[in-house]
Amino acid sequence: MYPSRFRYEAPRSLDEAIGLLHDGGDYAKVLAGGQSLVPLMKLRFASPELIVDINNVPGLSYHRTEADGSLRIGALCRHADLERSDLLKTTQPTMAAAAPVIADPIVRNRGTLVGSLCHADPQGDWASVVLALGGSVVARGPRGARTILLADLVTGPFQNILDPDEIAVEAVIPAARGVRSGGYLKLERRVGDFATVGVAVAVETSGENVTRAGIALTGVGGSTIGATAAADALVGRPLTPDSIGQAAELAAEAARPRTDHRGSAEYKRHMVRTFVLRLLSRGDLAAERAA
């Protein structure tokens, strides 16, 4: 399968890339990892007139902790970089759990976290993880840079609020207000398949009490679902079997699954509940609370 014809530009700086997008046609797309965009173009679901390939723009492959404690992930940081990252393993349990289950190992060599967020696939794993962590995306355009909360970035399936001449240059995970714990569990029929159910849990505790919590769901609705009521049920008190059970129930209620070839709606809702219970009841969470 071939994509339809397009003009291709491979700029060597961000300013040049933004300029190309600004001057380009109505339908320009940024190419980073291309692991979602190229398949869409081959299937002719997307037929951009201009492709601005940012792979030659230097200085976008990073992921690092800033002085303010936030984690920044550049637009060319690949899933594989995050999978191998010691920084994530030691400071970002939810992200470290998700990185190895994104797509498959070969796709992870090319695909990017920021691209995945912008792609806004309701089945995307990173969107749930970043939503649970209260993360955002920094977009740069001719009028400067702006920070957009992930919850505001996605406007619908495969749709985001970026202007045609804006580029998402990095994702930002805010600094923790306590000890971070959590994880990501994904039920998939086989490696590389979309999630039947995915659950991201991100908890921050200070002393005994939970100071912040985020729970987000993949694959159980028309969009990534932020289970805010479930997360709120955890905040301001210690994690107990009671609060965990309550959060699991509320998360299951927040799910909007549909019966399809991956499973029945009832089964998916049940798995949401089970995953929240598992993630919050895990030994490592208890150990970190004790520490």
């Binding site: 291709y8 190419l31 190992p105 070969i106």
Partner: protein, 172 residues
């Protein structure tokens, strides 16, 4: 290298944007003129005649088209040919020398790692990327590294054995 385009009456070939790219494939330097929408897999198979790289699903699922770009395994049906400008590609044709099989090829022969053979080039390239970075993988690590490559014949058992066989041979 010559690429032949369809002659659409309303669209002269001169209007088709073609870019000149330079790259290395299996150690040989090449220059090609490619339309931006040409996929890397098609450049390799049709442009260069290296048909060892197979096209299976054409939808980024099966991994039959796996090649190495700068030593990293990629699905060549999901990368534009124009993107390899300035880069190094390795395909299955680059594995054996004229007199000797690569230990991975030998391993697939010794351990019966293939039946129909369609997935084999992709399996070997994914395995090569693994062994280049991890010469002594566990069985679990081999399975993990090959989890983006589908095989419908073998049940994977012998493929994993083949890769472990090759790893041992390469270490000795």
């Amino acid at each position: 290298m010559t690429l032949v385009y369809e002659d659409h009456d309303d669209e002269a070939a001169s209007d088709i944007p073609v870019r000149r790219i330079k790259f290395t494939i299996n150690g040989d330097k090449k220059i090609a003129e490619v339309e931006p929408r040409l996929l890397l897999a098609h450049l390799i198979r049709r442009g260069l005649g290296l048909t060892g790289t197979h096209m299976g699903c054409d939808t980024t699922n099966c991994g039959a088209c796996t090649v190495l770009v700068d030593g990293q395994a990629v699905k060549s049906c999901t990368m534009l040919a124009v993107q390899v400008d300035g880069h190094e590609i390795s395909t299955v044709e680059g594995m054996a020398t004229s007199s000797e099989l690569h230990p991975l090829q030998e391993g697939f022969k010794e351990e019966h790692g293939l039946q129909c053979g369609f997935c084999t080039p992709g399996m070997m390239m994914a395995a090569k990327a693994l062994l280049d970075s991890n010469p002594d993988p566990t069985e679990e690590e081999v399975r993990w590294a090959l989890s983006g490559n589908l095989c419908r014949c073998t049940g994977y058992q012998n493929i994993v054995k083949s890769v472990l066989w090759a790893a041992e041979k390469l270490r000795s």
